[in-house]
Structures are given as structure tokens and as C-alpha cells.
């Protein structure tokens, strides 16, 4: 049932008791035309675009836990496209453009809010790097502008611009079209729209193995719900990508690290934008519920534990208290960790693999949420046509062999 004013009024007559379930809970079929491993935003989005733009309706999304329960439900929801290199700008800007109409597209309010993302410069090196980003972005027609310290304060009035800070603010780069969206709604919106087109979303179904024929091509997956046949597998498993790819004996240039975030008690609106500071390892925005959403850097070591050290969040809160003295007496309600898969050049891999029928979308590291629609869109193209979309053509595994890296360590904006 579509969400519309008319349907809202109709359902109100029965006290909203008769809304149908948003997606189906189907049994697995014996085989599918394509299987997506991982029902996060990227995986569900891939299924959605496969069904919508490539006419592949006989597909399934397999999820070990529940949909949107991994990094999609754990991230700090920041959206921006102010990356340095043309390849990245193409990919992230493609995504921002899809964000702008995603709620209408999915008939689901993903609460995309282009409130502006401001990245603070604290050192001369920061100024040089951010100005380089500003110019690189403007050459590609992507909005990004340089602000003086006073202009930064004007844009975010709770910012501390005193000169006696350990790392005083020397300026900032602002992308006005950047912002936030509601992370759960993105997963739910894609799930609902994909399910309505016939995509089977199978939750609590863990992939245990990948079966291949004599020529090495994939023939299906072994799961906790039995064998399911398919000729195309798209792996969108974030932190667990290395584990899944190992099942097909493909080694990946990935390491999985814990990344932590935390939220404060909800308060009245005090923060009109997103503020990020790479140098002192903190970023913050305010959710519509009123919580301050705060992100930290990754832990030092690889792990699948979905927890991290308290000293990492403490370090981040030190920075937050210095940048926003107003937050010093606030209480933090929850903190948590997710497992992010980091590539050596901090750019994702969206590509075919050496195994026929096996495709991989991974390596988003600390910043995959912003790319959800764009990544899903071009990955669906890659799977359906068995060749990359021009936008993701450079994001191969082979780039680590040829040396054609896409180094976004500075733009990744999170210490790792």
C-alpha cells in the first residue's frame, strides 16, 4: 500500500490497525537469478535497482541477522560528496543526486536533510588540504566552499573559536548540499520497495559456503536454511566481506576494524549542521529526535567484536568538549561499535571478481552510508550487465596490482 494522504486518512478510520506489513517474510526458493549477500542499505538498494532498472525480479537478499542491523543501523548518517579524485567525486556525487529524490522514488520518507557539512581546519596543513579539495570539487561542479573562522562560527554558532584552544579553528570547508538522512528509513524504504517488486528478503539466513562448478563459476550458496542455487552472487557484507570471499578462495585487500559512535541525551535544537574535525578526531550532528550524534575514529586493531576501547570514545569526547563547550555537562546515553572494512587507499571496491558470477561491493571503511543509493545503483548495473557502470569502472580489485589507487585518506575524514 502506498503511503499517501488518502491512505493515511483511510487507515485513520480504523485507528491505523490495518496497515499491511512493509515487506514480505518469504520462504527461500530452490534457486534465484541473483543473490545478494547482506541486507544493509547497499545490499537492499542493489536488489531494488536490479528489480527496477534491470528487470531482475527473481532475486533474493540473504541476511545473517535482521535487515539494516549492521553498519546501516550503526553509522552517524552523514552525507557529502567533497572527495578529492574524479573517480570518487563521480561516485559520491551520483549518490548525493539520488539522495535528493530518494524519498519520492521509494515512497518512503528517508528524511534527507541537506543541512550542510562543515569540515574544520586546525593546522596549516589542514588548510592546504581542504582548499585543494574545495578547488578540486568546484572544477567538477560540486559545491564546496572555504569559510573563515568567523564565517564558520556564523554557520554553527555553538562552535568555539577561541585562540587559546589546543588546536584552534583556522577555517573550514563547507558543502551546503551535504547533510544527514534517517539511516533505518533507508534500509526500510529499499526493503519495502524491493519486496513489493518481488524480491525475497530472507532474514536470519547466514551464508556458510559458496558452491562452484568445474570451471570455477558460482552455482549457489550454502546457507543455514539449506542450499540455494544461483549464477550471480553479489557480496555486500561490509566488515564480513573477507569472511564471505574466503568461501570462494578470493583474498581481499581489506582489514576489518571497530568504529564507534555514541549519542547524547535528547535536547532542543542547538546544532544546525554537521561538523567534522579530522585532525582532532571528532564529528557531530544533531538528530531530529534531539540527540547529539557523535562519531569517533577506528580502534587500532582489526576485530569482529562490534565493540571498541573506551579510550577511543573518551578521546573523541575530549575533542567535542573543546569544540563545543556547551556539550561539557551533557550525558551520553549509548555508545556502540560496528565493524568497517577498510581498503589500503580508503576507497571502496565495486567490481567483478576473478570468480565468474561473483561480484563484490565492499571497502567503504568509515564512510559508506553517504554512498548507499549511488553504490547500490552502479553495483546493480555491474551485476546485471556483467560489466561495471562508467561511474564505478575504476573501483576494481585489480587497482591494487596495477597501482592505479584512488587515495582518499584525507577525504575519509575519520582517523584510521
Amino acid at each position: 500500500m502506498r503511503f499517501s494522504f488518502l491512505n493515511l486518512a483511510k487507515q485513520a478510520l480504523s485507528a491505523h490497525r490495518n496497515w499491511p506489513e512493509q515487506w514480505r517474510f518469504p520462504e527461500t526458493k530452490a534457486s534465484y537469478d541473483a543473490i545478494i549477500v547482506g541486507a544493509g542499505g547497499h545490499g537492499l538498494g542493489t536488489a531494488y535497482y536490479l528489480a527496477k532498472e534491470h528487470g531482475m525480479r527473481n532475486i533474493a537478499v540473504l541476511e545473517k541477522g535482521w535487515l539494516g542491523g549492521g553498519n546501516t543501523g550503526r553509522n552517524t548518517t552523514i552525507i557529502r560528496s567533497n572527495y578529492l579524485w574524479e573517480e570518487s567525486q563521480g561516485l559520491y556525487e551520483h549518490s548525493v543526486k539520488l539522495w535528493e529524490t530518494l524519498s519520492e522514488e521509494l515512497n518512503y520518507n528517508v528524511m534527507y536533510s541537506p543541512r550542510g557539512v562543515m569540515m574544520l581546519a586546525h593546522t596549516v596543513h589542514d588548510i592546504q588540504v581542504f582548499k585543494r579539495h574545495v578547488h578540486a570539487n568546484r572544477l567538477q561542479g560540486i559545491d564546496n566552499e572555504w569559510l573563515t573562522t568567523e564565517q564558520a562560527k556564523e554557520f554553527c554558532p555553538i562552535l568555539n573559536i577561541e585562540k587559546n584552544m589546543r588546536y584552534p579553528i583556522l577555517g573550514a570547508a563547507l558543502q551546503r548540499r551535504g547533510g544527514t538522512a534517517r539511516h533505518d528509513a533507508v534500509a526500510w524504504g529499499y526493503a519495502r520497495a524491493a519486496s513489493a517488486m518481488g524480491v525475497d528478503i530472507i532474514q536470519n539466513c547466514e551464508v556458510k559456503g559458496i558452491r562452484r562448478d568445474a570451471n570455477g563459476a558460482v552455482t549457489g550458496v550454502e546457507t543455514t536454511k539449506g542450499f540455494i542455487g544461483t549464477k550471480k552472487i553479489g557480496v555486500v557484507a561490509a566488515g564480513h566481506t573477507s569472511v564471505i570471499m574466503q568461501m570462494a578462495h578470493v583474498r581481499m585487500p581489506l582489514e576489518s576494524y571497530p568504529l564507534q559512535a555514541l549519542v547524547s541525551e535528547p535536547i532542543k535544537p542547538i546544532m544546525p549542521c554537521v561538523v567534522m574535525s579530522n585532525t582532532i578526531h571528532a564529528y557531530m550532528s544533531q538528530s531530529d529526535k534531539g540527540e547529539l550524534v557523535i562519531g569517533a575514529g577506528t580502534d587500532a586493531y582489526t576485530s569482529y567484536s562490534q565493540t571498541g576501547g573506551l579510550h577511543i570514545t573518551t578521546h573523541t569526547l575530549d575533542a567535542i568538549c573543546e569544540l563545543f563547550p556547551v556539550a561539557r555537562r551533557m550525558r551520553m546515553l549509548r555508545n556502540w561499535g560496528g565493524i568497517v572494512d577498510v581498503t589500503p587507499d580508503r576507497s571502496p571496491i565495486l567490481a567483478k571478481t576473478p570468480v565468474k558470477g561473483l561480484y563484490v561491493n565492499c571497502g567503504w571503511g568509515t564512510g559508506g552510508f553517504k554512498a548507499t543509493p549511488g553504490s547500490a545503483h552502479v553495483f546493480a548495473h555491474t551485476i546485471a550487465r556483467d560489466e561495471p557502470h562508467p561511474i564505478n569502472a575504476g573501483f576494481t580489485i585489480e587497482r591494487f596490482k596495477t597501482g592505479r589507487l584512488i587515495d582518499e585518506a584525507a577525504a575519509a575524514a575519520v582517523a584510521h
Binding site: V243, R251, S256, T302, S303, K401
Partner: protein, 99 residues
């Protein structure tokens, strides 16, 4: 925060250490004869296991020496540390009750 038993100094908090990635990744012996694939494997490709991982740490704020550490990446429990240069440990001894 991890408590890491440095084989030289004993157990110390993680803050005194720097993580240095997967252990026993040997630099190619003859660079001139090493192919692009082999360089990529050495530089970028990692096993990244969910389970027992052998990794290097450096006690940067202590003895400043590198050493190897066997850790379960599911529980983050450290199972053993040993000095750099000692042979790679046999993982079989850790498989039982690893988690």
C-alpha cells in the same frame, strides 16, 4: 582497552602500544624478480580472519620493540605473545575453546 603482555616488559595497557598489522608477512626476497601480483599481495592483501589472528604490535611507549601477538578477533582475547624473530606459532593449539 586491551591489556597486552609485552614479551619484554610484561602486561601493559594498549595505550602504550602501536598496532602494526598482520604478522609474518615477509618482504619479497628478490625485488627485481617480484611480479606486480606478488607486490600487491605483500603490500595490500591480508587474511583478515574472523577468529585467530597473528599480528604485530610495537611497545612504542615502553621498550619500543616489535613483537608478535596471537589474538582472537571475535572476543579480542589475547592468547599469546612472542618475540619478533621467533617462528610463527602453530594455530592448532588455539583452536579449541578459542571463542
Amino acid at each position: 582497552m586491551l591489556l597486552i603482555p609485552c614479551p619484554y616488559c610484561g602486561e601493559r595497557p594498549e595505550l602504550e602500544f602501536r598496532y602494526a598489522g598482520e604478522a609474518h608477512v615477509a618482504r619479497p626476497a628478490d625485488p627485481m624478480k617480484t611480479t606486480d601480483e606478488e607486490w600487491a599481495e605483500y603490500l595490500y592483501f591480508r587474511s583478515n580472519p574472523k577468529g585467530i589472528h597473528i599480528e604485530r604490535w610495537r611497545h612504542i611507549s615502553g621498550c619500543a620493540r616489535f613483537f608478535n601477538c596471537v589474538r582472537d578477533t571475535v572476543s579480542d582475547k589475547i592468547l599469546k605473545t612472542y618475540k619478533a624473530g621467533e617462528p610463527r606459532v602453530d594455530l592448532k593449539q588455539f583452536e579449541k575453546g578459542a571463542n
